[in-house]
């Protein structure tokens, strides 16, 4: 594959074949707890798309220009978390001040995903896979969209599930995990198309 196509390939792959939630099982806690309603899932999904698409390139810059020059790659865990937390905090404050509707639909979820492992995971994969800045951005954006698709699909299923008879022992997170497993298998159907590693 030519390098110029790389960002788009990664973008596509991170949505379908390498879906961060369904292949890596990252970001599970908020996925399980918030996927009850389609409306809240949409809000949370949008927030994840936004945060992943912005923090991944941001972390790329910090990693390339601060950590690599001083041979501090091993500090990336701490540094990425600090950067993500501060950025999310700033975004929340800005939204709360300047855009009431956006804060209502999206901002309220931001504190929830500050410490989401999927967000940190995307930044760490970006380092391991040695992406460029542009690819990192598309990887973050794609992973966010992938997570978004997974959670709204799950919310849709769970809303239907309200009418279903579930064995008492499986109610709540139990059945959700089982469904997530099936969804992951369904997404495996995409895996022949393109692979990221």
């Amino acid at each position: 594959m030519t390098d110029s196509l790389m960002p788009f390939a990664v973008f596509f792959a991170s949505i379908f074949t390498g879906n961060i939630l369904l292949t890596n099982y990252l970001g599970m806690c908020s996925f399980l707890s918030v996927s009850k309603e389609l409306k809240t899932s949409t809000g949370l999904g949008m927030a994840v798309i936004f945060v992943m698409a912005t923090t991944t390139p941001l972390n790329w810059i910090v990693y390339q220009y601060l950590l690599i020059p001083y041979n501090l790659e091993y500090l990336r865990f701490i540094v990425f978390i600090i950067v993500i937390a501060a950025f999310v905090q700033l975004t929340e404050m800005t939204l709360e001040r300047y855009s009431e509707p956006l804060y209502q639909s999206l901002g309220i979820f931001l504190p929830l995903i500050t410490v989401n492992c999927a967000i940190l995971g995307v930044s760490l994969f970006m380092v391991i896979r040695e992406y460029t800045l542009l690819t990192s951005f598309f990887f973050g954006l794609g992973s966010g969209i992938g997570w978004f698709i997974a959670i709204i699909a799950m919310a849709g299923i769970r809303q239907k599930l309200k009418n279903a008879k579930i064995p008492p022992g499986l109610e709540g997170p139990g059945i959700t995990l089982v469904i997530a497993g099936f969804m992951a298998m369904a997404f495996m159907g995409f895996s022949g198309m393109i692979a990221i590693s």
Binding site: L66, I82, T94
Partner: protein, 368 residues
């Protein structure tokens, strides 16, 4: 080696400091809403507070206490306040607690609603009387195997003005069952006349945060913070006959009302039905008998649902609802005051309805 260490510490600090400064600047600019005005009850009180904080907290700082059990995390839904001006849209975190009816009245959850501009709110007048009290535990005694009486002496302020039957909120400090302060509501059992003291009757609930604290950790001499008084469960001033019904620690507000009646010389006909399982769940019998002596129109009727053989019980037997059904006459000319578990109260309301007590004359304090 040392150099690498210093460099890594330096870089981490650099990033942290940079981000911290960024956040501080943002907090002072974007997050700074300046001083905003809160106008309470059509301007009968005006407060100036720092904007951007939750309404509950802002009011708290100014000494206006709104009842809240969870301490502002949006999980109890108690701290509702009517915001009539400067409200804005509902937040998703408020919606689970707000009914359609309340939406029309602009009722908001004050721990979630942030004051960003001048607002006008409406709160019940008596909340102005609510204060925070520093108290010392004067005595703790066992009333039954699972109910303790805690007597608190008020230090600052030293006096509370409450109506008999009202409740206070007890602040539980951080301990092994909770990593933050929580508040639990308890009715006052003491007479409102005794302004320097507050008595509580607290029943042990397995794994209850406050009840475990009181039963296993609280000692005489400990300092406890309470706030109050709250509630509209108090004796109405009419000539109707009074039916008191209580179970377990539901004794507390009724006892307070009785002491108050005795003090004020109220001679209305009053019957007090107290339900318990067996004799070991009964308490304060001597005090009740003494009140019967002093108040000729008052009778105390304890009833056991499962008397044990060794109890030698010769009083009423049966569920409290059956006893009430059997013994109440002149329902239409009676007022009922109920305190106890939701199950007991719901069952009693049904029975009171059967014996002719009008719904508007039934008052209750449900444990939740």
């Amino acid at each position: 080696m040392i150099v690498t260490l210093l460099i890594s510490i330096g870089i981490i600090s650099l990033i942290s400091v940079f981000l911290a400064i960024l956040l501080v600047i943002a907090d002072a600019t974007i997050g700074n809403y300046g001083v905003v005005k809160i106008s309470i009850n059509d301007g009968s009180k005006e407060l100036e507070v720092q904007g951007g904080q939750p309404l509950l907290k802002a009011l708290n700082q100014e000494g206006v206490f709104i009842p809240s059990a969870c301490g502002g995390r949006g999980s109890c839904g108690m701290c509702k306040v009517r915001v009539v001006g400067g409200g804005g849209d509902y937040l998703p975190t408020e919606l689970p607690w707000i009914s359609d009816e309340e939406k029309e009245k602009n009722v908001r959850l004050s721990c979630q609603f942030k004051v960003k501009q001048d607002v006008a709110i409406v709160i019940p007048e008596e909340l102005f009387l609510v204060k925070e009290f520093k108290t010392t535990v004067e005595s703790i005694r066992d009333l039954t195997h699972d109910i303790k009486e805690v007597r608190l002496r008020l230090k600052e302020p030293a006096e509370i003005s409450a109506k008999a039957g009202q409740y206070i909120q007890f602040e539980v400090p951080e301990y092994e069952l909770t990593d933050e302060r929580v508040y639990r509501a308890y009715s006052m059992a003491s007479s409102p006349d005794d302004k320097n003291h507050v008595e509580l009757e607290i029943r042990l609930v397995p794994n209850g945060i406050c009840t475990t604290y009181v039963h296993q950790h609280l000692k005489e001499g400990d300092e406890i913070i309470i706030n109050g008084p709250y509630g509209d469960f108090f004796l109405r001033e009419t000539d109707k006959h009074i039916i008191f019904i209580a179970g377990g620690s539901g004794m507390a507000p009724i006892k307070s009302m009785l002491l108050d009646m005795e003090k004020k010389g109220i001679t209305r006909k009053a019957s007090y039905f107290f339900g318990a399982r067996s004799k070991r769940d009964l308490f304060l019998l001597d005090e009740m008998r003494a009140l019967e002596e002093k108040m000729p129109n008052f009778s105390f009727i304890p009833a056991l649902s499962e008397p044990q053989e060794e109890d030698n019980w010769d009083g009423e037997v049966g569920l409290i609802t059956d006893v009430v059904r059997r013994m109440v006459s002149e329902g239409a000319n009676s007022e009922a005051y109920l305190c106890g578990s939701p199950g007991m109260i719901d069952a009693c309301i049904k029975v009171l309805d059967e014996v002719g007590v009008l719904p508007e004359n039934i008052f209750y304090d449900k444990f939740s």
